[in-house]
């Protein structure tokens, strides 16, 4: 589901237009595996439900991004071509290596708990009730440990 503007959108118009392309720069779609881009998921809905305290940091980072885009390419990030977006991000991340941390943390939590993504990873979500199959282990590997004999101290 694409990002949509909802009544509980905590971003302004300019921030909203920049969010989707930024998320797709962080995790782009992958045609081979069928993995979606992070911008295709309901990031705003996720943050509202699970991390509302992160909203301020996300807004601040989007403002930082749009300021850099305007300085370097004359327009806000969402208005730029894909090539210009990549250039702006490269400059910004070179200048501030910590740029995007608030967004990345929430993007990873949103992305890697998404139904489609989790299914493509072959995971159970939620883990209960199906659970997982785990290899029992090769107990013959313990033969040398057993052969070493008693190891604890008598007391």
């Amino acid at each position: 589901m694409a990002n949509v503007i909802t009544s509980d959108n905590f971003l302004n118009d300019e921030q909203t237009k920049s969010l989707t392309p930024l998320l797709n720069c962080i995790v782009p779609p992958d045609a081979d595996s069928g993995m979606p881009g992070a911008g295709e998921l309901d990031f705003i809905g996720y943050v509202n439900e699970f991390a509302p305290e992160a909203a301020a940091g996300i807004r601040s980072e989007l403002d930082e991004l749009n300021t850099a885009a305007t300085e370097e390419a004359g327009s806000s990030f969402g208005e730029l071509s894909g090539a210009d977006q990549a250039t702006v991000l490269e400059i910004l991340r070179h200048r501030n290596v910590r740029f995007g941390r608030a967004i990345v943390v929430q993007a990873m939590a949103c992305y890697y708990q998404d139904d489609q993504v989790v299914a493509l990873l072959g995971e159970q979500s939620p883990p209960f009730p199906e659970g997982n199959t785990v290899h029992p282990g090769d107990l013959t590997l313990l033969d040398p440990v057993k052969a070493a004999g008693r190891r604890y101290r008598e007391a």
Binding site: S33, Y112, Q113, P127, F128, G131, V134, G137, P144, V145
Partner: protein, 534 residues
């Protein structure tokens, strides 16, 4: 009913209380347990929700200071190198524990005699052996018998699967010629006593929705209640009361509406863990006990022990799906458990191999470290790390020191206005040297297993799962708080049965030893009923 006198009043409904109450139930005495938290509903646990990886971060966080449920009490940890992990509810810490269930070893009870440090316990491994076995049966413990690092004992259930990660690490340990063994786990690997076997959900440490993890709200309390033990929740005890003859008379507690009650009792049993018990005793001041109840030795709250915990992470590219399976239990190595005089420290540690991280943690940590990039290479990089992480914990034996202690914070209080505990704790030089040794050996083990990107995190602060030593056992009333079977030296009808009474800490998770000790104490009480207060 609050004014009735019960025979035995237990404070706290965690691991020790559950085992103790089960044993005492056959006396047909009236037994009442007061618990400040709630019964848990497994349907609410995070693993029932697709957003389990974030849902566990707050409401099921191991830290009461982060969790901040109204059933929690705050802890001042500003002066502690380790922060507390606990849970307040029926089941106590077992609600969030990983259920790694190794026993203490014979040498752990003879530290002074063998190594000239700390003190010997007033009992031995052999004394506890039958109680370990009984508790394994009651809890439902899985494991592989025959570990050469512990006296032979039969396990009720076969071991938990170690997975491809266990095989990889086992081969690594074999290459080094080191001991290793699948972990004992208080998790049922087969259907047992009406419970369904473990389905390898993974996140045991945010509560087991399956009921396969042997938290004591599942394994003990329903049975205890059928046997007649009463359990009241949302009862937060403020103070143990005492008469002019130095006998405990009961406890004052707040109910869920904040109404104060005085529950009278013939015997009072403390089971609030190594922080909660000294907190309550120190809060119980009176004319005869101005420094806190049962504290004529001055040792209540002193000798706080954790297990200083180190962590090393690595990745093994074998498609292991290492994050699946019970999170805290895979295997352990006790190659460096016993004292070796060639090393620069006494006593030793366990290397504990636990499952890898789930997808959100792998992605977030990888992105923040720069190992998983932004852009087109993200997916390939994520795939390299996902399911391949291995964590090796270093569980160091902590030795008792009086400077490490629980006191009462002069300002911080819980929601009922009861003074909160304050911790003062630092690692000793012995622990620091042991930790350095353990971190290096964990790296070595991961290298031998073929891991890449091995990252030692050093000593990790948020690892205060094991709370011990703050009301220690012993024969000398000037050097201990309780005697060899948990009875206060100063108050003859007051008992302590939780990790507070540990004399030393061993180098393994303590829950099975805490419960065996609780069963042992219950038997001692039953065997000495006629002279219990002499």
């Amino acid at each position: 009913m609050a004014d009735d006198v019960v025979d035995v009043l237990i404070i706290g409904a965690g691991a020790s209380a559950a085992a103790f109450a089960w044993s005492m139930a056959d006396t047909r005495m009236r037994i009442l347990c007061l618990e400040q938290g709630d019964w848990m509903n497994p349907a609410d646990y995070p693993s029932t929700s697709k957003h389990w990886q974030v849902r566990r971060q707050i409401a099921y966080n191991q830290s009461p200071n982060i969790r901040q449920r109204d059933t929690d009490y705050p802890i001042n940890e500003d002066e502690s190198a380790v922060s507390v992990a606990n849970f307040n509810g029926v089941g106590g810490g077992t609600i969030l524990y990983s259920a790694h269930f190794p026993r203490f070893k014979p040498s752990d009870f003879r530290v002074k005699s063998l190594d000239g440090v700390a003190d010997d316990w007033p009992l031995t491994y052999q004394d506890l052996d039958p109680y370990f076995a009984q508790n394994d049966k009651n809890m439902g413990v899985s494991g592989l018998s025959g570990d050469p690092m512990i006296p032979y004992h039969d396990m009720p259930l076969h071991h938990i699967p170690i997975g491809k990660m266990g095989d990889a690490m086992g081969r690594g340990f074999n290459k080094l010629g080191w001991h290793w063994w699948p972990s004992d786990a208080a998790i049922i690997s087969e259907d047992y006593e009406g419970r369904e076997k473990c389905a390898n959900l993974g996140p045991c440490n945010s509560g087991c929705a399956k009921g396969a993890k042997s938290s004591v709200d599942i394994a003990y309390w329903p049975l205890n209640q059928r046997l007649g033990v009463e359990l009241k929740t949302r009862c937060r005890v403020r103070e143990i009361t005492v008469d002019e003859n130095d006998m405990a008379t009961g406890a004052i507690y707040f109910d869920e509406n904040g109404i104060e009650h005085h529950q009278r009792a013939e015997i009072v049993v403390m089971a609030c863990n190594g922080v909660g018990t000294p907190r309550l005793l120190l809060n119980s001041t009176s004319k005869n006990f101005p420094d806190g109840l049962a504290n004529r030795s001055g040792l209540v709250g002193k000798n706080l022990m954790f297990h200083p915990w180190g962590m090393v992470e690595g990745y093994i590219e074998e498609g292991m799906m290492s994050h699946l399976g019970p999170q805290g239990t895979c295997l352990l190595s006790q190659e460096f458990y016993e004292t070796d005089t060639a090393r620069d420290f006494v006593r030793g540690y366990t290397l504990q191999v636990t499952r890898g991280q789930p997808p959100v943690s792998v992605a977030t940590n990888g992105m923040l470290r720069g190992d998983i990039p932004w852009g087109n290479d993200h997916h390939a990089a994520f795939k390299r790390y996902h399911g391949n992480s291995v964590l090796v914990g270093i569980c160091c034996e902590d030795l008792p020191e009086e400077v490490n202690q629980v006191t009462l914070d002069p300002e911080l209080k819980d929601s009922n206005g009861i003074p909160a505990p304050k911790l003062t704790y630092r690692l000793s030089e012995n622990s620091e040297r042991m930790m350095a040794h353990g971190l290096a050996r964990a790296e070595e083990a991961l290298e031998a297993a073929g891991a890449f990107q091995i990252t030692p995190f050093g000593q990790v602060r948020h690892t205060g799962w094991h709370l011990m030593g703050t009301a220690r056992m012993g024969g000398d009333p000037s050097r201990s708080v309780v005697n060899g079977w948990g009875r206060s030296h100063d108050v003859k009808n007051l008992f302590v049965i939780d990790g507070s009474i540990f004399v030393t800490s061993g180098a393994v998770n303590p829950t099975t030893t805490i419960q065996a000790l609780a069963l042992y104490i219950a038997d001692q009480m039953k065997n000495n009923l006629a002279t219990l207060f002499d």
